[in-house]
Amino acid sequence: MQHPTNTRTIRVLCTGQVDPTYVLKALKNGADGVLVIGCRLGECHYINGNYQAREKIDMTKIMLEKAGISSKRVEMRFISSAEGNKYIEAVKEFTDTVKSVGPSPVRSKEKCESIKRILDALIAAASEFRLRAIVAKKKKMIEEGNVYNEKIPQEEIEKVIDNAVNTEFVRKLIVSCLKEKPQSCMDIADKIEVPSALVLSHLSYLRRKNIIDVDRVKERVPYYKII
């Protein structure tokens, strides 16, 4: 029953409590990986918390991939309280996987700042109404349908989530850039490595939502700021 000493355990009542922001915070604080362990599927002590958690973890993995962070750093396993050996196996396996991905970029001096900004953007995105609502509604949309009683195929919902993750993430990145100082569209595009046309469309959205505004126009180039 021995395993490496590199795990730190956080107790929750049910994996249903594990918010994507928890996982992302752990990564931001310097964790190399996060392993979420719940009851076996169909054996949840709280009816269906583990199924709910799986949706959240799946979304978290998508978010990480979008942000260029390996989604292998986050994993969910389903193990019963009597399966100590499976727990050990899972911990060992996960340790190996994370080792193959390498140490957390948060702990490297060069990348630390940029990766923290990215993770902050992800945390902000995961706190956003839109993403949370879609994931919360996912099961219902697939099984029961939307307000028009149309059942949505799983692939389609996943596409919507994918798209939403992308949008929210980039918007949050833009906001975090602008928090530092007013910048132009080109500056931002360079910094976050996103095509300027896309940045521009997000900028206009954020302006419509009264989140940002034009700070000044210099040589016919607008500079944006946070309101």
Binding site: R40, E43, S80, S81, A82, E83
Partner: protein, 62 residues
């Protein structure tokens, strides 16, 4: 109240500490009765604790 009732003892002895004995004890204890749970083995648990998994859900016996 009849005379007979006065003599009733509000405790119950449960003989056998397997899954049945434990369940009966818990029900009675939860209802506010004092329960003596008696088992010949050094600890309770009975046969079920010797099983690895149980049908039909294959979850743990402990």
């Amino acid at each position: 109240m009849k005379k007979e009732d006065m003599k009733k003892v509000g405790a119950i002895a449960v003989i056998g500490g397997g899954v049945g004995g434990m369940q009966a004890s818990l029900d009675l204890a939860d209802s506010g009765f004092k329960v003596y749970l008696i088992d010949t083995k050094p600890s309770i648990g009975g046969m079920m604790s010797q099983l690895d998994k149980t049908f039909p859900t294959n979850d743990c016996a402990m």
